[in-house]
Symmetry: C2
Subunit: 189 residues, 2 copies
C-alpha cells in the first residue's frame, strides 16, 4: 500500500459557503461559514459549528433564531469580505439588502439565491471551543428563477464551493450521474 | 421583492459525499453520507448526522470509532451502490479493498483518495430520528499524488459533489478566487 499517514486536519471536500445572519444588539450581522450540514429532514433542520468567539453565536443565543443565506459566484467579494471583517469592527448590515421573515429577528440577505429562516432547536457546546447550533428551517425564500419543479436547482444557484486548508473558492462543474441510480451499474460490472 | 416562500426542505448546496466505514458484527460496512461537516479544528473533528435506522450507527456505538472515506469520480458507481443497498441485505466488505489503522476497528477504503480514522467524541440524539455523531480525527491517510504541500488538493481529489433533493452527482469546476483575500476588493468597489 502506498498510503501514508499525513498531517491531520479539518479535511472535507467540497464544503459549501453560507452566510449566517443574526441580530447583534438590534443590528443585522452576517458571517460566512463552511462548517454546516443538514441535520434532519423531517422537520428540515440544519446545523453549523461556530466558534464561541463569534458575535454571531451571542446573537443566535439571545434571539433563538438565525438565517442561512446561500452564496453564489457573484457574491464572492461581499461574502469573503464578511469573513475578513468582524462585526465587532464594522457594520455589516449595509453590505447587502436585508429583509426579515416571520421570526422577525433573523436578518436575511436579498442578494442570496435562497434564504433559510431557522429557529434554534438545540445548541451543543463541543467542549473544545465551538457551538454546534441546530436550527429548524421554518421558512425558505427564493426567486422563481433559481428553482426547477419548485425546488432549488444547483446549476441555477451557481454556488460558491470552498476548499479549506488551501482557502479557495470554486465553481460547480459537469454532471456525473444520477444518485440512487448509477449504482445499479455495479451489478453488471 | 420578487422572493417567495418555497416548500421547505433539507437544502444546502453543495454537499460532499463520503463513505462512512464501521464494523458490523466484525464485518466492514460502508454507507455514503452527505450530511457531514467539520466540527472543530483543534483537535480536528468531523460530524455526521445519520438515521437511527442505519446499521452503521449501531456499529459506531459498539466500537466507538468509524472512518470517513472520501469519494472521487471514479468511485461513483461503487459509492452509489453502497447507498442503494443496505448492509442488512448484502456484504459490502468486498466492494472495496479494506484496510485498518491504529484504532483496529474502523475499516477504511483503499480506493479512497483520503481516509480519516475517527474515534467517537460525542453522540447526540437529535430527538427526531438522527444521531449527530462527532468524531475526533486521530489519523489521516493518503497517497502522495493527492497532496500539494502535504495537504489534500481538491483538484487532485476530483471529489464527488452532491445535490440533494434532485439527487445528482457533479464534478468540481473552475477556480473563482482566494478566500480571505478576494474580499479586500470590496473596499475599493
Amino acid at each position: 500500500m502506498l498510503k501514508n499517514k499525513i498531517k491531520i486536519g479539518p479535511y472535507l471536500y467540497p464544503m459549501p459557503v453560507v452566510l449566517i445572519g443574526a441580530l447583534i444588539e438590534e443590528r443585522a450581522n452576517f458571517m460566512p461559514i463552511a462548517w454546516t450540514c443538514i441535520a434532519e429532514h423531517k422537520p428540515p433542520m440544519i446545523l453549523i459549528s461556530a466558534s464561541h468567539t463569534h458575535l454571531t453565536n451571542k446573537g443566535i443565543k439571545e434571539n433563538q433564531c438565525f438565517s442561512v443565506n446561500f452564496t453564489s459566484e457573484d457574491m464572492v467579494i461581499e461574502t469573503d469580505y464578511c469573513g475578513i471583517k468582524s462585526g465587532k469592527d464594522i457594520n455589516k448590515s449595509t453590505v447587502f439588502k436585508v429583509f426579515y421573515g416571520d421570526l422577525k429577528k433573523a436578518p436575511m440577505i436579498n442578494e442570496s439565491p435562497i434564504n433559510l429562516e431557522c429557529k434554534v432547536d438545540k445548541i451543543i457546546d463541543n467542549q473544545r471551543g465551538h457551538d454546534i447550533i441546530i436550527g429548524e428551517i421554518v421558512n425558505a425564500y427564493a426567486e422563481d428563477k433559481y428553482l426547477t419543479n419548485g425546488i432549488p436547482d444547483i446549476k441555477k444557484l451557481n454556488p460558491l464551493i470552498f476548499s479549506m486548508n488551501d482557502n479557495n473558492y470554486w465553481k460547480l462543474g459537469e454532471h456525473i450521474g444520477r444518485a440512487w441510480k448509477i449504482g445499479h451499474q455495479y451489478e453488471s460490472k
